[in-house]
């Protein structure tokens, strides 16, 4: 049995959350609308209609490109991509062919680097609903802005793909906030190209395009299935040709959608209805992207000295990160003002507390803040009262005291437990322990 290395490249589509569609003023948010209630002559492809591009969609595509380490091109244009399908009203899709908005990027995730071939902008199609003997078409989604991200075949396992996709989702949804990037709703779509080689220096002469992976949880399953399927074929010396396959999540298999597909001839040519886009380098340099998860991770671990694995959990929610930084500042000040000794462990404790809490809890932040402060700095009980309580407990448990003084050390835990029960507020267990030991010594 030969050993095979999976060679996987990704094609990801992301629906932008602009207000308007890509080439007209219909709403980009088509969720839950009555069918065909969000269309105009442009996105319905009526005679005489013309496209005018949405400035914000272009800006968002450039932001995504920059966030993926791409070079933003100074000249870009739209092209027509021709094919006939009922959900494509004009018989061509306005997309980008040889002058996309961003190229040659690099994305680093979990210390692995993945090359981003290109990021470009295009329009979405309508939706088809298949019935027994006909198909229904809803054009509400036709013309919604779509960003396409293409990577080099730098992925070698389904795990890598899943991790990358999760990070991409995080970046686009939470950090850049340009899309909901939700796979179940269709605002993020993945089409991996998968092939196998037994020599990493020789790329395979085929690739299988996988479609219809509708959720994050099927990403790994679908890719693993396909890798195994290809392994079996190659081990039997069966040649694999270019193919598009669909994923069936119920049976967990991939199936052929079009066998022996001729390379599609899209007859690309530059879109004559839309003038060229030019961007000067000053403008491109001025496009600001927020601090991305990787950088945030480094920043948090450096500044607060928290564990990387905890920081990694924290950065999955910008809300939690913001809260963490706010509360850390407050606590540092609190300690200063109350002359409490402060060390970096406190930050780690805060992180733990936050990471284990739900985001909804953090919503009502003042209540949550008090919770943390109480947790970190429990109010010191009046020491006299504490002593009294200890004396009471020891009085009530004379046998335990006797056992301890006779050498049974584990009775101490029982005694501590009893004391803590009597105490109304949370106390520092070690301090209580030493007080108890003092008292026990005196009773010897």
């Amino acid at each position: 049995m030969k050993s095979y290395i999976p060679i996987i490249g990704l094609e990801i589509h992301v629906e932008l959350n602009t207000k308007s569609k890509m080439f007209c003023q219909c709403e980009a948010n088509y969720f839950n609308l009555e069918p065909n209630s969000n269309i105009c002559p442009v996105c319905l492809g009526l005679p005489g209609a013309l496209p005018v591009p949405n400035k914000k969609a272009i800006y968002y595509a450039q932001i995504i490109g920059k966030a993926l380490g791409c070079k933003l091109t100074t000249q870009s244009k739209f092209d027509r991509k021709h094919y006939f399908y009922p959900d494509l009203p004009k018989g061509y899709q306005i997309s980008q062919y040889d002058e996309p908005l961003a190229i040659n990027g690099l994305s680093e995730i979990s210390n692995k680097k993945y090359r981003i071939t290109r990021v470009h902008l295009e329009e979405d199609t309508g939706k088809l609903i298949h019935k027994e003997n006909k198909s229904l078409i809803d054009f509400n989604r036709s013309g919604v802005p779509l960003v396409e991200i293409v990577t080099e075949p730098d992925f070698h396992s389904s795990e890598e793909v899943k991790t990358f996709l999760e990070m991409l989702h995080l970046i686009i949804q939470q950090y850049l906030r340009v899309s909901n990037a939700n796979m179940e709703q269709g605002s993020m779509r993945l089409e991996p190209n998968i092939s196998l080689t037994n020599n990493i220096n020789r790329l395979p002469d085929y690739k299988i395009e996988l479609k219809n992976i509708n959720s994050f949880r099927y990403v790994k399953k679908a890719i693993d299935y396909e890798i195994e399927r290809q392994k079996k074929l190659l081990n039997e010396n069966i040649k694999i040709s270019f193919e598009t396959r669909g994923y069936d999540e119920n049976k967990n298999i991939t199936f052929s959608q079009r066998v022996k597909e001729e390379a599609k001839d899209y007859r690309y040519f530059p879109e004559p209805d839309i003038p060229v886009m030019t961007f000067d380098t000053d403008y491109l340099n001025s496009i600001k992207i927020p601090e991305l998860p990787n950088e945030k991770l480094k920043y948090l671990t450096n500044k607060y000295k928290i564990r990387e694995s905890d920081a990694f959990l924290l950065i999955k929610s910008l809300k939690k990160v913001d809260f963490f930084e706010n509360i850390s500042k407050k606590i540092t000040n609190y300690c200063k003002n109350n002359k409490i000794e402060f060390d970096y462990i406190t930050y780690q404790k805060i992180v733990n507390f936050i990471v284990n809490s739900k985001e909804q809890e953090i919503e009502s932040s003042l209540v949550f803040e008090k919770k943390i402060i109480d947790f970190l700095f429990p109010k010191k009980q009046n020491i006299g009262i504490t002593q009294q309580i200890i004396k009471n407990v020891l009085n009530k448990n004379k046998k335990a005291v006797e056992d301890y003084n006779n050498g049974k050390e584990n009775v101490l835990m029982y005694i501590i437990g009893q004391v803590l029960r009597e105490l109304k507020t949370k106390q520092n267990v070690n301090e209580i322990k030493s007080l108890i030991l003092n008292n026990l010594k005196q009773l010897q």
């Binding site: 002559p41 319905l44 492809g45 009526l46 005679p47 005489g48 209609a49 013309l50 496209p51 005018v52 591009p53 027509r80 021709h82 006939f84 009922p86 009203p89 004009k90 018989g91 061509y92 078409i137 054009f139 390379a263 001839d265 007859r267 690309y268 040519f269 004559p272 209805d273 839309i274 003038p275």
Partner: protein, 462 residues
Amino acid sequence: MNLLNKTLIELIKLIKTKEISSKEIFEYFIKRIKKYNKNLNSFITINENFIANNREFLYGLPISLKDNICTKNIRTTASSNVLKNFISPYNATIVEKILNSGGIILGKNNMDAWAHGSSTETSDFGPTKNPWDKTRSPGGSSGGCTAAVASYLCPAAIGTETAGSIRQPASWSGTVGMKPTYGRVSRYGIIAMGSSLDCPGPITSSVEDSALLLNIIGGIDKYDATSISPTPSNYLLEINNKKTFNIGIPEEYFENVDKEIIKNIEKAIQVLKSLGHKFTKIKLLHPKYAISVYTIIQRAEVSSNLSRYDGIRFANDRTFFGKEAKKRIMLGTYALSQGYYDKYYKKAQTVRSLIISDFNKVFKKVDLILAPTTPTTAFKLGEFEKYPFFGELMDILNEPSSIAGLPSISIPIGLTKSNLPIGMQIIGNYLNEESILNCANFFQKETNFFDIKKTLLKQYPD
């Protein structure tokens, strides 16, 4: 009151002095259409509903439109069975502009189906006849418009030109036809043929009317990303300040042209000389290359623009396409397909650059270029079948300027011995409609176009 042959400007005067109402004018044209349209077939659809619209600048006057211009309440067919009963839910921008300026849409004119042709014979609604000789074609693809204006079934019309489709039928029908700079007039709502070439423009009997209509329909449109800066000036004012120009004569445009046409052009040049214009011989790239450039680019864009007609969302399906449409789509697809794109489409767009720079060079020396509009006068109906790409061959003298997006006008300058109209074109530099209209206007003032229209209208009395 005798309305026959009155221009828009003259009719407006009558309305303003209350000598006649716009309703009476409207009914006058409806009457004439009912009398003559059956014979000429210049209208596909007629709108008999008069709605008062007294706004400036048309004060309720009727304008007819080529049937590839979308109108909300009148069907738009592009003279094809595919769109036989199609009613657009929106008006083209230029229609809105006309309505907002006091115009009324009189009807929709016959054309070559999808504007594919130069004779109005590929129409699925029958050919339009040339009012000068009903055994002949009026030209195309805006032949319905020019036939209607020539025979005074409407005072003015809006046609469209991709390469020659306004100028050539204007020449064959004896009217004024203006193709503005590409982008000067919005294409939103014009059924697309060649997206980088299509220009809506006025078809009239006077240059002043042409200027009036260009004032109304020109200007940037937020719904058309290729439309350009606002109409810079009031063309109607501009054309009455006499100017003299340097006019270039390209000998390449006089090859293989009928002798009678050349004779009339020489006569017209003498008139222009007497008006103070100077003439220079210039050299331009031979138009035979423009035919190839245009055939490839236009058909490629056609194959793309006609992809949306699949019969699913509206109108009839692709089996309703006529022969000419199918042939053009196929050649266009071929020119764009893998393996042929570089040789045909890319090469054509590159030669396009050559043609543009060729004109740029020439316009450094001259203000205007003058030439015959067409190499021949109106062909007999049926002739077009003999040619494999008739449309593109007929428009040889118009294609170079269309490819470069330049403005141009065709004006009638005489009649042949067999009483067929002869057209002369004046091409201007990019965005320079003023000079073209100015020159043409003073030519008209001087010659009254040799009373050509009056001659024809003897055959079409009220």
